[in-house]
């Protein structure tokens, strides 16, 4: 069964003056896929992602996200994607419930729907006893799980995760990946940008960006076979060495 | 000593590479002085007034001539009946009406007092206030020139500035205030920001875990700003002298010494703020709210302390700027020597020692 593409990028390029931040990248991501978008800091990941989520206009090339054009239909894109980053997640000075209600509201969910989702989400995460506590007082791991759930509130087609599990303890990290697998299983496409190579091991397919170009794109397994190494970390090291 | 010089060198790099703070440091004093000097002065020029003269005798004519001869007022209208006063105001052109009582000269000679009513349009209270002051000054001047001991019945509130600012130049009044604000801002705000910036960056941790002693860090932070503040104070004084032709009557040396004292007061306050604030933003907020507002509102810079409610008058005493303004007004405009301002100077020194003591006590050699 051939699944539909939810992201298609073709020769997507972004230049800032003389500097080419993203250099003609092409790739597609299928529905329900967990796609790892890897690269060192400054390799152009963030710039590429900004174009895909419709907050930065490409210099050239084409891309469609959730079926919408990144040049002309950015408003439709924003309605169909979720976003979670380590830096900005939830409001620390609002309670768990208030955060859910707020984010449900800005995505235009009805009051009834928000209430329903809120109850469901709180029970799924086992937050019943602390749903009226300020988010700022929760441990980091819980915050990240909650913020991932909040990014799924409006049932987006694609969720963009920006370095989602950095610094979290190993067990919470596993729980987090279980949540990602579940969302993917239910048909949500997951787009993970990260520079932690071991996060890449969990993805269905990964692309590795170096200096604005995609230098490798395949399943982690095939990449490891191709470079004859044991881990994605070593894949990256070899790739970086080859390019130098 | 080499460590210390290395530290100061680093501070100067910070200052000269940060275009924004460089602008605050040098652009603002100049901008403020020029702004206050040219635009926001209390000076009045060619204000339209009306006259209602019930006596029409020699004295009133003399006074009216004197007023109309000054460049401050233009007599636009002669009113005959009291009832027309309101109409004159309502047209909007007339800012003040002078109402001479009946038999002005006679009263003056017989009863040794005569009344002029000054009615001003108080929709703009500052201008109204200035007009009253200017007319008062002209009347007083007239009185003195006549030297007949004429008593005028209405309440003259000869503010000191009328006496010591005979040309009634508003800009002179602002120079001490602006200088105070700028020294405060540069010294206190910039120092506290530069210390909290190191806290935010995490470099403070490294400085603490180094053989540098805390007082070396503080002095190292402060020295560049003493230097810059002195430059600033000089720029302000020079601008005032050469652009606004303000005579500095008193000793420049005393002025300089008092300014350095106030700069040290402000730096001590800046250090104190940095011991409380953890972020640059907090340091800026505390400096602006905690220092600038009181300086502007309570120091006597804009609103005379004597006309404040008693509680505010009492509070104004704890504001170092109030004392500094008294001192430099004295030196710049009245030309007084140290014998006249020693009391204020002692108060300022006391405050400085207190702030330094407090910040040394509060300064942490660790992170908590």
């Amino acid at each position: 069964m051939k699944k539909e593409n939810v992201i298609e990028a073709n020769q997507l390029t972004k230049t800032f003056g003389d500097f080419t931040a993203v250099n003609a990248i092409s790739f597609e991501v299928k529905k329900g896929e967990i796609f790892g978008f890897l690269g060192a800091n400054g390799a152009g990941k963030t710039t590429a992602m900004k174009m895909l989520i419709g907050i930065s206009k490409p210099s050239s090339g084409t891309a469609k996200v959730a079926g919408f054009d990144v040049y002309s239909q950015t408003e439709s894109i924003k309605k169909n994607i979720g976003y979670m980053s380590q830096k900005f997640a939830l409001y620390d000075d609002l309670t768990v419930k208030e955060n859910i209600t707020f984010f449900g509201g800005i995505y235009g969910l009805s009051r009834k729907k928000i209430k329903e989702k809120r109850t469901q989400l709180i029970s799924e995460l086992g937050l019943e006893n602390i749903s009226n506590k300020l988010v700022g007082s929760l441990p980091l791991g819980w915050k990240q799980k909650l913020s991932f759930s909040v990014s799924l509130l409006h049932e987006p087609k694609i969720v963009f995760l920006d370095e989602p599990t950095g610094g979290v303890d190993p067990i919470t990290r596993r729980h987090f990946w279980e949540m990602i697998y579940k969302a993917a299983h239910q048909g949500t496409t997951i787009f993970v940008t990260t520079h932690y190579m071991d996060e890449a091991e969990y993805c269905d397919r990964v692309s590795i960006m170096v200096e604005g170009k995609i230098e490798a794109l395949d399943t982690p397994k095939k990449l490891k076979e191709q470079f004859k190494v044991e881990s994605m970390n070593d894949v990256f090291l070899k790739l970086a060495r080859n390019i130098e | 000593m080499k460590r210390f010089i290395g530290f100061i060198k680093k501070e100067f790099y910070h200052i000269f590479r940060d275009k924004r703070s460089l602008f605050i440091l040098f652009g603002m004093p100049i901008a403020q002085i020029l702004l206050f000097g040219f635009a926001i002065t209390n000076e009045i020029n060619n204000v339209d007034i009306a006259i209602l003269d019930h006596s029409k005798d020699a004295t009133t004519e003399e006074i009216i001539n004197k007023i109309s001869a000054s460049k401050y007022f233009t007599i636009k209208q002669i009113i005959v009946r009291e009832a027309d006063i309101e109409a004159a105001f309502k047209k909007g052109k007339i800012k003040a009406v002078l109402n001479f009582e009946k038999d002005f000269s006679k009263n003056l000679i017989k009863e040794k007092k005569a009344t002029i009513q000054i009615i001003t349009d108080a929709t703009d209270p500052n201008t109204a206030n200035s007009i009253t002051n200017y007319i008062n000054a002209i009347l007083q001047n007239y009185q003195q020139s006549k030297n007949k001991g004429i008593q005028i019945d209405y309440q003259i509130v000869p503010q000191t500035r009328m006496v010591y600012n005979p040309e009634l130049k508003g800009v002179f009044m602002f120079v001490p205030g602006v200088m105070t604000i700028i020294l405060m801002l540069v010294s206190a705000m910039m120092t506290s920001i530069s210390i909290t910036r190191e806290k935010e960056l995490g470099t403070m941790e490294i400085l603490l875990v180094s053989p540098l002693k805390p007082f070396q860090v503080i002095i190292g932070k402060v020295v560049p700003y003493i230097f810059l503040s002195v430059v600033n104070a000089s720029v302000i004084v020079l601008l005032s002298i050469f652009i606004f032709k303000m005579p500095v009557v008193g000793s420049l040396f005393l002025l300089g010494a008092e300014s350095v004292l106030f700069i040290i007061t402000s730096l001590a306050l800046g250090i104190l703020i940095s011991t409380i604030a953890e972020t640059q933003q907090a340091a800026m907020m505390i400096s602006l709210m905690g220092l600038m507002l009181p300086v502007i509102l309570l120091s006597g810079f804009i609103f005379p302390v004597s006309s404040m409610p008693i509680p505010l008058q009492i509070i104004s005493n704890i504001i170092p700027a109030k004392w500094f303004i008294i001192i430099i007004k004295g030196i710049m405009l009245k030309g007084v020597g140290v014998t006249y301002v020693w009391k204020e100077t002692v108060i300022l020194i006391g405050m400085t020692l207190f702030f330094i003591g407090l910040s040394v006590k509060k300064y942490k050699i660790r992170l908590e």
């Binding site: 800091n41 970086a240 | 290395g6």
Partner: protein, 300 residues
């Protein structure tokens, strides 16, 4: 001992940051504090670098007490805080010169110590620190921490946010520094870096889970681990979680790590169970436990 802690506890208001921490670091050792964010690593660093006073317990660094002899410690340690604490508006060279001067030394005097690190950033010596890449900032910060030839080096999460190539180079540098006789205490949230240390302490929620060599910690793992893979990861995890003989299951890259309650575990049993659950492409093979497995087992 170069570093020793005995029953150190520290709370911030009501939050207990670290509780009853005791460990020691031998002279010339490369010792790693391994654990997630918020585990108390930074608190331990700050106590040892005399920035915080412990609520209870005692600690010494290079033979000096962290409370009483803080001045002596400040002269003899190098410290690289969690964020690369450099002056962003100073150039590479100016940063280094500044830190050399405040420690009363010069770049030339101790150049041999930093040489092999500094040559890598020397081409950019006139560039402002704020404009450097993460890897270069990290190298510069290390140079700054080393410029006064410290006896003990404290590195708080030096590899966080740095690309894999720079991370690898960084650890190689640490190994070389260690050979020059410097004692190094380093913290990291990355479990894969644990294997590069002589000895490690696993730390979570302010408590130490275990202290040993990386190999010894892994060999203490009580179970045999199986890599299990199938066509659908989500269904696989769900199925395993409902398996009656399950001891633990955790996603681990392209596989899950599965351990069984029984001593006599048969791969075929599990395989037929998973087939019954509707999974295909089933792959089961035993594998070596790693630090992360050990950490999760200890943290349970």
């Amino acid at each position: 001992m170069s570093i020793s802690l005995s029953n150190i506890s520290k709370s911030y208001k009501k939050v207990k940051a670290v509780q009853n921490i005791s460990f020691y670091v031998k002279p010339g050792e490369l010792f790693g504090l391994i654990g997630p964010d918020g585990g108390g690593k930074t608190t331990i660093f700050r106590i040892l670098t005399t920035l915080l006073i412990p609520d209870s317990g005692t600690a010494t660094v290079a033979g000096f007490d962290v409370v009483k002899d803080y001045k002596a410690i400040r002269k003899s340690v190098g410290y690289m805080p969690g964020r690369f604490s450099l002056y962003q508006d100073l150039t590479v060279e100016e940063n280094l010169t500044f830190f050399a001067t405040i420690f009363g030394t010069t770049i030339e005097e101790n150049y041999d110590l930093i040489e092999d690190i500094y040559v890598q950033i020397a081409p950019f010596k006139d560039r402002r620190a704020g404009k450097l890449s993460g890897g270069m900032k990290q190298k510069l910060a290390l140079c700054c921490a080393l410029i006064h030839k410290p006896k003990v080096l404290f590195l708080d999460e030096p590899t966080t946010g740095v690309d894999p190539v720079s991370r690898k180079e960084f650890w190689e540098m640490l190994k070389r520094l260690q050979k020059k006789g410097i004692t190094i205490l380093v913290s990291t949230p990355y479990m894969d870096e644990a294997a590069l240390c002589d000895r490690i302490a696993l730390i979570q929620d302010g408590e130490i889970l275990d202290i040993d060599t990386p190999n010894a910690i892994v060999s203490k793992f009580p179970k045999t681990i199986y890599n299990v893979g199938a066509n659908n990861m989500y269904k696989l995890i769900k199925a395993l979680q409902h398996y009656e003989h399950l001891y633990s299951v955790f996603p681990f890259g392209e596989f899950v790590h599965y351990t069984d309650k029984r001593d006599s575990f048969e791969v075929v049993d599990l395989k037929s169970y998973l087939e019954k659950e509707g999974l295909t492409d089933i792959h089961i093979e035993s594998t070596q436990a790693n630090i992360e497995d050990a950490f999760m087992e200890l943290a349970k």
